[in-house]
Symmetry: C2
Subunit: 331 residues, 2 copies
């Protein structure tokens, strides 16, 4: 985990840090003796000179890392988010003759490996997807000087270009739809609260209920179908008289539909339900799901364009795409 620093190389070679930088950059402004000493220290310590060394070896790798902070079981699951983002980013980057290098980092060890890999200068840029909590990667990559963008607003306070959809506004529209159709006891199945999409969609729900003087009824899932079913059963126990649910994504809404059916509740007669994302499966549920369309393809395209456009040439560093209510039969 611990990598030798530039300082350590400078100390071993008996030269300044600036001299080490010049040597690993391949600049011919130091004496051959000093260059020798530095290269010997680099080799003895196994120093990884980041972008400096990268420019010695090759100017570009022509590859962009797509780092998904989820385990493989999540990425290759029924959730179409990841495959859609990967497909879209691959298509956009291939058009620019860049290779996508996909790395799944679902635990702390793989996070550390991915950080070392990027520090090693093996990619020209990084796209981050599905960040959780106080992820140290965005700040670490920014410090390395490697271009980095995020799919979705980062959960940490780091100045990172990103493309997102209007999670707060979308959740507000979903809950307003339930109010407008006469519902009075509106619960929510929130997403994981260490993710921005989880936090923001819950904020949208609370914003509308606060204005309307209704009370919050909240259960928390993890964006999987199973967690939606579990959360729905819990909500029915907490408030058997609830008459509507806003689920923070469609997969949880689908799980909730199943739990409602098992509990003998008719949808939408007894309980209305609105989801979020408009995945393809939302059209085929029984009844078909009313949901907020989350423009995944457009958001992934915007993320790639942010990465490929040099900062000085960008109109803006943040792209927020609107969501849209898709009315079907569930709510």
């Amino acid at each position: 985990m611990k990598r030798p620093t530039l300082e350590a190389v400078a100390a071993r070679a008996g030269v300044s840090r600036a001299t080490v930088s010049r040597v690993v950059n391949g600049q011919a402004t130091v004496t051959p003796e000093i260059r020798d000493a530095v290269i010997r220290a680099v080799n003895e310590l196994g120093y990884v000179p980041n972008s400096a060394a990268r420019s010695l070896v090759t100017q570009r790798t022509d590859s962009i890392a797509l780092v998904v902070s989820e385990p493989p079981t999540r990425v290759f699951s029924e959730d179409p988010l990841f495959s859609t983002v990967i497909r879209t980013a691959s298509r956009e980057l291939e058009a620019a003759d860049k290779q996508v290098v996909l790395m799944l980092a679902g635990n702390a060890q793989s996070h550390a490996r991915v950080e070392r890999y990027i520090a090693g200068g093996h990619v020209d840029g990084v796209m981050l997807i599905s960040m959780h909590g106080a992820d140290p990667l965005p700040a670490a990559i920014t410090r390395m000087g490697v271009p980095v963008v995020s799919y979705g607003r980062p959960a940490v306070a780091v100045d990172l270009p990103y493309a997102d959809n209007d999670n707060v506004g979308g959740a507000e529209s979903a809950v307003r739809r339930l109010l407008d159709t006469g519902r009075r006891r509106i619960a929510t199945i929130a997403g994981p609260l260490d993710m921005i999409a989880g936090q923001d969609r819950l904020t949208g729900y609370r914003n509308v209920l606060r204005d309307s003087d209704r009370r919050s009824i909240v259960a928390i899932g993890d964006f999987t179908r199973e967690s939606g079913a579990v959360a729905m059963r819990q909500l029915l126990e907490d408030d058997p008289k609830l008459d509507a649910v806003f689920a923070a994504n469609d997969l949880m809404a689908i799980g909730a539909l199943q739990a409602l059916r098992q509990a003998g509740r008719r949808v939408p007669d007894d309980v209305s339900i609105v989801g979020f994302d408009d995945i393809e499966a939302a059209r085929y549920t029984e009844p078909p799901l009313t949901t907020m369309r989350h423009p995944i393809v457009e958001q992934a395209t915007a993320m790639v364009r942010l990465l490929l456009t040099p900062p000085a040439e960008r109109d803006r560093d943040q792209v927020i795409l609107p969501t849209e209510l898709v009315v079907r039969e569930s709510g």
Copy 2:
């Protein structure tokens, strides 16, 4: 595409190739003046010194490339082969503290990019999946001195460690099952013939029919469900009296079941069908599918172990896993 060669660097610097190698390897056995001249030539030409440069920059990248020669739409599809191999390889490599770097190479440009990337020393080893036809990657990677293994026997004549299942023997068992249950006109839906799994499963079918004096009835698909349905309709036109089908994978068998139903044929009463792979969906078809179990997890595990074991310590360079007939209702 064209990269400067070691020769070009040697010519520019006015030294021998061996001297260039020593310099980019960081050996201190050349004079400082010559070292300077070589490094200048390397930088001016943008030379990528492969593993030589890699050892200058860092001993290891702690990452292994998983190169899938398919477009993203195929990898993120209903075919569980890719996700199972990726999940299994990730788990096995994480246990060895290696990061999987996934690269999809579904066309010639991305093949060329992947080759450049591996030549750049950005990974410690390579696993190849889903090779088609005369793929130049295995030979190119072997020439670079980068360890490489294949999921499945390579279609090209290159000496590569690989793990495979017994495609010929499995197909023979499937066709023998159809003969043993009294079927007389046995067709096959073969896989793509630029892939070893496609070729070998067709060979198994022909081996058994040749021994039994029955004639071949062959249509060719591409391992997708749609292609299985198309091939089945074609077979029914070619020989309306056929009474059995061996499909070279389960997805094509599922497509064939659909086409048989649409043509008013009962399975297995009118037409028996046996698939290959035993994917999860094979249990839920109507009727449930008789198939050959292809041990995907074990094969992927064997591939990773081959890569992680140094050649001198390996028992063998090829692992062939047995297949197993799983009898359900379709045949």
